[in-house]
Symmetry: C2
Subunit: 342 residues, 2 copies
């Protein structure tokens, strides 16, 4: 029921995803049964692969997380997440209120990692693919241990979502030398360098490396990640506006732009935000699809959810997370100093 | 002598700047006197407005700051900064090694504000002008007091550099609500809100506001600022590459691009980095011009240096800085709590 368009986007998206996913993948649709039934009637091809679960209530797009929690029980969002905990669903996808989805997911599924709230992933395009970038906004204060947790979760997500066997991981910093940056990022670098985890860790990367595809996964705290993501979106929007201005600044340029229209549309599609962001660190798979998602976007999110659910994603994260206490003990600054002086 | 091109760019830049600046503005050229004399011979219009100060040595572009300090005495860079301390110059402009320029400037001029090193400013284009953005890389750990100092310095710089009587100031955060962000940014917001300073402070802004021109001056710590700046540069570079790809993807688009060429060049010029970044917080005006600066860029930096030197820049900063102790005493968290419960 969430997002700008509700069932008029979600049901066609289910039809698209059903056509591309194996027949054993099935869909639970949470929301107003009358509205959903009317939409389903227009997409007969879905057949019995979708099942409607009625709910009277919805979480409004402008509700605060605390409100969503208080009044959430029985909403379509709540029921979608609850279905994971009850073992009826392998994953949940929502275009609804982000803060509400985070709060409800955290309450119902609880955190697997020791985070304030789920970490948010963004997929940033580069010329040869997509950089997985996290945390982009949820956890403002991050110590070294949290940054290492983001590395573990982001790597597993990138493998499941993009099918690359061994994604490379970098830590965002203000330079590539070991002594650069603040204590948290230098300590996280020490821990990741020790090789306790099954990760292809490549060290520090810088802000412009995110769009260069230097590594597959770029890790940072939620403050820096949110600012960097929005700064990139802002730069892209500014450039697109300037470009439109430049291409309509005189008759010749306008004629040129008309001829180049196909190429320009291709270009705009590349910079549009990716359809779905997983909420990482929960005991369960929840994806947030942006509110203005089209049926193609939402179908893409459903496919990512199915891929995650069928992959070794959760087990891989758990395996690396179990190595964290030993890694932390091994690489305390005192131990590192001792090793250096030995 | 610095930058990719040395005197072959700097001397033509002096000729350009001399033509546009009042005749009382004069230039000291530090470097190899033979090389400089040869260049000056090609720009007779400079006349007696430039004076050569010979130096045998230069700071190399790849020298570490510590090396530059140790071996810096007698270099052209050292002498240019030293001339400020001796009262012979009102400002220094260099295309040389950034770390070296920071270290040498800090040693010779000393810091006026309580910072690790000078704060670096970037000018980010938006559709109606330029956003002054700082710190973009020098001071990684910033408490609330430092963020307030950046606000004071950035505001004075924006007025002097862009001629706006009352620039607006925002603090970079992950949301606009008062309770968002980490302790340092919330505390800086409290201090700036109290109105102790002669500043038009507008509260929190987000990453995409930098390119929207929501406020004139955007303040953040050197870690976040460096990452955000490079992320924006990376996004712009990626988009420019994609755009070129899209416009040459087929014959029609290529023909369109050829027709749109004038507009596209206008566009590229808008996103190219600004010519000069001041090193803020020193007892003196030092500007870093980028290494690949053209003579037009370097001339622009010389004009900004002259504007800063002739403006109330230093006095305005000093006046607001003197109010800092009272502001800090007034807005300690304890005092704020007291006020709230009264």
């Amino acid at each position: 029921m969430g997002g700008d368009h509700g069932p008029s986007v979600v049901v066609p998206a289910v039809a698209r995803a059903a056509a591309e996913l194996p027949v054993h993948v099935r869909f639970l649709l949470h929301g107003d049964e009358k509205v959903l039934a009317a939409e389903l009637a227009r997409h007969k091809a879905i057949g019995d692969r979708a099942e409607v679960r009625h709910s009277d209530k919805v979480v409004a797009m402008d509700e605060k997380p605390a409100q969503a929690l208080r009044r959430g029980k029985g909403t379509s969002m709540w029921n979608a997440v609850e279905a994971i905990r009850e073992g009826q669903a392998a994953a949940a996808v929502s275009s609804g209120n982000t803060g509400g989805l985070m709060a409800i997911s955290k309450l119902i599924l609880r955190m697997a990692a020791d985070l304030d709230r789920p970490a948010l992933v963004a997929g940033i395009p580069h010329s040869k693919g997509v950089t997985t970038f996290l945390d982009v906004g949820a956890n403002v204060d991050c110590d070294a241990e949290r940054l290492v947790e983001f590395a573990i979760m982001g790597e597993a997500f990138h493998r499941a979502a993009h099918g690359k066997a061994k994604p490379t991981v970098g830590l965002l910093n203000v330079g590539s030398e070991e002594m650069k940056g603040h204590e948290e990022v230098r300590e996280a670098n020490r821990i990741l360098r020790e090789g306790h985890f099954d990760l292809d860790y490549r060290g520090f990367v810088e802000g412009d490396d995110i769009t260069r595809g230097v590594v597959d996964v770029v890790v940072t705290d939620g403050f820096t990640g949110n600012v960097a993501l929005k700064a990139m979106e802002g730069a892209a929007k500014f450039m697109y506006g300037e470009l439109k201005g430049a291409l309509t600044s005189n008759l010749l340029a306008t004629a040129g732009a008309a001829l180049a229209r196909g190429g320009l549309l291709k270009f705009r599609d590349r910079i549009s935000p990716p359809p779905a962001a997983p909420l990482l660190g929960l005991n369960g798979i929840v994806l947030k699809c942006h509110g203005s998602a089209t049926d193609r976007d939402f179908a893409q999110a459903l496919k990512v959810a199915a891929d995650l659910a069928q992959s070794g994603f959760a087990a891989e994260i758990e395996r690396n997370m179990r190595r964290l206490p030993a890694a932390l003990a091994d690489t305390s600054p005192a131990a590192a100093d001792g090793a250096a002086s030995a």
